[in-house]
């Protein structure tokens, strides 16, 4: 079975928190190059690693990873505000 591509927002959340790849790698217990591969979406993480990364950011896993291309957070926020306004 060919694996699906997993999209993620790791670079966004990592930059927001001012973490280097090495910092995040240390937090989740992987090599820093693996963080690079994840950010370039060239490697699909295991479920365990996906949860560890989401926990490191303090966010639910579906905010960090998705099987569909992820909208920029600003767009998500705008949609949310528009929905609230209706």
């Amino acid at each position: 079975m060919k694996p699906r591509k997993i999209y993620n927002r790791i670079p966004v959340f990592r930059n927001e928190r001012d973490l280097s790849r090495q910092n995040l790698a240390d937090l989740v217990g992987v090599n820093y190059q693996t963080i690079g591969y994840l950010e370039r979406e060239e490697y699909n993480p295991s479920l365990d690693l996906a949860f560890r990364i989401a926990e490191a950011f303090g966010l639910p896993v579906d905010m960090v990873f998705s099987t569909k291309p992820m909208k920029p957070l600003s767009e998500v926020l705008r949609d949310h505000l528009e929905k609230e306004g209706d």
Binding site: G29, Q33, T34, Y37
Partner: protein
């Protein structure tokens, strides 16, 4: 240096390493081992040895790829385990036919008086088997 340049350079060093090993064996068994003391052949073996050492250092030793295939599984992360396993699988696929071919060649050539078997070929094979997984990693990995 960007990732693509680095990969191209690394692949060039992989080709240099394998070509040096191949030509070293070829020149050795073609001329030197047969008792032909041709200074050009000896010089070429020296050039091959230099090529082997010069390409080994940056592509295998300095990148740490050498240790990746020799490390305990517990010390690697899930992606490293996956790529190392793939590299070992490819190594097996490459090394077995190479060894069988050499064994076949030795069986065919074994009865001829020009047939020579000494330590250089097993040493070359041992080196090849040892570096093969690391060389496959160096060839395939975008960033090391």
């Amino acid at each position: 240096m960007n990732g693509a340049e680095s990969l191209t350079r690394r692949r060039g060093q992989v080709v240099l390493n394998l070509a040096s090993l191949f030509f070293l064996e070829l020149i050795y068994y073609g001329w030197v081992a047969g008792g032909v003391h041709n200074p050009v052949a000896v010089g070429l073996i020296g050039v091959c040895l230099i090529g082997l050492v010069l390409s080994f250092r940056p592509v295998i030793w300095k990148t740490g790829l050498w240790s990746l295939t020799h490390a305990k599984v517990e010390t690697l992360d899930e992606r490293q385990v996956m790529v190392t396993r793939e590299a070992l699988r490819y190594s097996y696929v490459i090394f077995v036919p190479c060894s069988l071919l050499l064994m076949f060649a030795a069986a065919v050539a074994g009865n001829h008086e020009w047939y020579i078997f000494d330590a250089v070929l097993p040493a070359g094979l041992l080196y090849f088997s040892h570096i093969l997984p690391a060389i496959i990693l160096a060839w395939r990995e975008k960033v090391v």
